[in-house]
Symmetry: C2
Subunit: 307 residues, 2 copies
């Protein structure tokens, strides 16, 4: 039997009582170590569970053979930060288990997708969740902005999940054919805000040059520009940064997008929310407790007043 | 201190280890008994926690005084099925605690909003969540259909949370001025499907009579009709029924809306999903395991093929 067990968001004690029983009675225990992380390391988990924990990197999970072969003859626990089927790769593991005749069972747990309610925004007024990837020299994906605008137009909040890079091989090591790994990277709210600011600045720049483009390109570009222009300027666009949700040193900050680019919310993991343009008064009242300055509080109040 | 503690979706063992510690060290323990339920009663919880549990009905929570007064001088646990801030009323309780100078802390847990991934549909392709209320002789709310269509148009799934009525006073008893309560009611997937079928039938009927209405009404009506007409006929509209998610006798069924109206998925709680018109192949492959008949499986395959 394969148990896909959510271990929550922060500490070893966030596992459920049932999850802990199953971990302790499993022959082998794997931990997904690349889609998310807890604030504690493998050692603390092993100590708390009283069991050895094997780290599973992307290859081990995506190939799946080691885990599924073990689960064919004994109980195996596969631990996931958050709720187990939140990432495509874990749904895929469950499906392949089934194809090989290995029964699986999911033990649910908290997820950032609902823990985000700690900022006071109501879950039923969130639209589609988006992922913000790290930009690099060759690639600057921006499709998340279009999804964000789709939510904004319908007065829905957007939760932005921020990129995590764990065990990424360096370009040089790939060329040498012997992989060495980059240090892990976790996108902060300030980096996410910087990327969003850069995108919005590009919109303005592109607008100035739209008449240089071929007519068909220009029409499509103008359409995108018009959608993006709905957003207020960065100094008046409210954002909410969430760091270490569910942990004792959780930190939530509500401020403008422009300010978020220079806020330090401390160690990972971070998530960013772009609230809907018009907040419910109760949402605004709750959110105001996370405004550090008078300017931040005024911005929250303005979002409620525009309703 | 007020602890808002999520207790998960099904069994007493679904509480987290931290949640259990806090419950056991609290002076008083309240259980929200009206926004959702576990599959077990108060007795099983008390036995498992080793603490008396006080049921909190809507009035007790919305007035809040009893709970907040207790939390002013001692540790109080307020237990909620799912993740604690999922319902507006609990965010409101946290805010009023803060206003009275009572510190609160949230202990997160699993929620149907993410456990729904057990059917194989990816969480990041869900749009806005909707609530389907029971209809009665005087009121037939239908705004959830417009939200569902908003998701459908953007190729997003819709999770429909189905109505729960606990401790509703009878009309007669209200007239007599001494409340007596209706037996609790939990909307099943089949009742939700029936209401949706009735709404869609009304669309067809209204269409036939649109020319009888005043011109301005007719234009608005025609706009709504045109949006609703995007949906395929009920025999070809794929739905997913989810019953007792996260419990050992969880039941998931994928079939047409027309068929869902006569499927019996057993005891509560139920939720209904209307998947996006075009599924990812991996979503369809996962979902197919919940198709009971060949016709159901063909409907799932058709949703993937249209992508």
């Amino acid at each position: 039997m394969l148990y896909l067990i959510g271990i929550g968001l922060s500490d070893p004690e966030d596992v459920t009582v049932r999850g802990l029983e199953l971990i302790r009675s499993s022959a082998r225990v794997f931990l997904d170590a690349y889609t998310s992380i807890l604030s504690v390391g493998k050692d603390r988990l092993e100590e708390f569970y009283g069991r050895p924990v094997e780290l599973a990197d992307r290859d081990l999970v995506e190939q799946g053979d080691v885990i599924l072969a073990a689960a064919q003859s004994a109980d195996v626990s596969f631990l996931v930060v958050g709720d187990p089927l939140g990432a495509t790769t874990h749904a895929d593991l469950a499906m392949r288990a089934r194809q090989r005749g290995v029964a699986y069972r999911v033990v649910h747990n908290a997820s950032v997708l609902t823990a985000v309610a700690s900022c006071g925004l109501q879950l039923y007024t969130f639209g589609e969740t988006v992922s913000v990837p790290f930009w690099d020299a060759v690639s600057r994906p921006s499709s998340f902005l279009d999804k964000l605008l789709g939510n904004w137009e319908r007065n829905l909040h957007t939760l932005c999940l921020l990129d995590i890079r764990v065990r990424e091989p360096t370009m040089e090591s790939l060329l040498r054919g012997r992989p060495e790994f980059e240090p892990p990277r976790f996108m902060s709210c300030s980096v996410a805000a910087e990327q969003l600011l850069a995108l919005l600045a590009e919109v303005s720049a592109a607008e100035d040059n739209a008449d240089l483009l071929a007519e068909s390109d220009a029409a499509e570009l103008r359409n995108r520009l018009n959608r993006r222009k709905q957003l207020p300027p960065p100094e008046r666009l409210l954002t909410v940064g969430l760091a270490r949700l569910g942990s004792p040193d959780e930190r939530i900050a509500a401020c403008s997008l422009a300010d978020m680019a220079s806020r330090d919310l401390g160690p990972p993991l971070h998530s960013l929310v772009v609230p809907a343009p018009r907040l419910h008064p109760v949402e605004a009242e709750f959110l105001r407790q996370f405004a550090d300055t008078e300017a931040d509080a005024a911005l929250v109040d303005a979002s409620a007043a525009e309703r």
